[in-house]
Amino acid sequence: MTDTEKIHLLLVDDEEKFLNALTDRLKLKFFDITPVTNGEDAIDVTGKAKFDVAVVDLQMPGIDGVQLLKALKKSHRFLEIIILSGHATIDVAVECTKLGAFKVLEKPCGFDKLVETIKEAYESRLKKKFENDAQRMQKIQSLAFGQSPLGILRELSKMDDNKK
């Protein structure tokens, strides 16, 4: 994997030592990691940089994992989010999946399983983005017929919600 192919990964966990240990290991796997210790910082950094996948701890002070999941999915619809939970009950998994989480993993999960899930989430993001781009292209082509240039621009701006 080259630098340009690196998966941009956001790690959010209030347990700082766990965050650092995981960051150190994932860096060896050629991920581009941004570690943050709370939901507020996570929202802040996603507004400034592009991320492919986020790994989010469920239980955090302030903005918890569920609130962060909702906020990130609202503003970055192609960002895939993996939830790490100390108490991965069926109820938690169902709730997070309904809110758009890619997967809920119980903490501690095996490192290899986490890496595999991150890669799957990245593939899913690429697929969704590709499908969206294809649909967009199709729509642009259909707009090109029978619309004034201004009309086309108006329609395009409606389609350009959030590219992240």
Binding site: D14, E15, K17, F18, A21, L22, D24, R25, L28, Q59, M60, P61, G62, D64, G86, H87, K107, P108, F111
Partner: protein
């Protein structure tokens, strides 16, 4: 203490025991997760070293220190778990205020919403109350939880205790900014307080919990086998 209250306290006691054990297990999971990832990182570095990459001694030292610290944290957590488990050994006994507060602060510290709490040094001679150690622990824990939820996570709580009156001890939980405590105590906490004959006073910058020095009624009820 009527049967209704005794039943509620019994049920609550079990719920409380379960919830504290869940938070302890969560803490232990965190500790194991850190040890697991750090050990895994060391293993990754070893593999890279075999392929010719130079190992940084400082990195190895950091990993080793981190594992040692987490093991110590794990032992501390298990000590607290053990201390909490023994709080049900005696239905009623002379119960140290300082020990109960210290354990409650440590146990609530495992909760994600817990803020910082500082216990002020008490009198030279430890103050005790003759009560149910488990229910008293429950009451102090629930009080701390309510305060943490009401306070901003960055605010700190100061806890002190005094014996103004020979018949009662007052625990004072002071905060800089008063949070929303209008619903405190909730009915469940009020039931526990009722069983212990404890009372709450909410002031602008402090919450006071007063507990009688002796609780003969509780002793009689527990002697009849009416509570755990």
């Amino acid at each position: 203490m009527n049967q209704h209250t005794i039943d509620l306290v019994n049920k609550q006691g079990l719920q409380f025991f379960g919830s504290v054990n869940a938070s302890i297990s969560h803490e232990l999971k965190n500790i194991f997760a850190i040890i697991s990832e750090t050990a895994g990182f060391l293993n990754d570095l070893t593999q890279l070293s075999k392929q010719g990459k130079k190992l940084e001694l400082s990195v190895l030292e950091n990993c080793s220190n981190s594992i040692s610290e987490e093991i110590e944290r794990g032992f501390d957590t298990i000590r607290q778990m053990n201390q909490f488990a023994h709080s049900v050994d005696d239905p009623v006994k002379e119960t140290s205020i300082a020990d109960t507060l210290a354990l409650a602060v440590k146990l609530t510290g495992f909760l994600s919403y817990a803020g910082k709490a500082h216990i002020q040094d008490g009198p030279a001679n430890d103050i005790t109350v003759f009560t149910s150690p488990f229910l008293f622990q429950t009451l102090v824990y629930k009080t701390l939880c309510a305060l943490y939820k009401a306070m901003d996570i960055k605010d700190e709580l100061t806890i002190a205790y005094r014996q103004d009156d020979p018949s009662g001890i007052t625990l004072v939980f002071s905060y800089d900014r008063s949070g929303d405590l209008k619903d405190f105590p909730d009915p469940k906490t009020a039931d526990v307080a009722d069983a212990l004959k404890a009372t709450f006073t909410i002031k602008e910058s402090a919450l006071e919990l007063t507990i009688p020095r002796d609780n003969d009624g509780l002793q009689a009820a527990l002697a009849d086998g009416q509570t755990p």
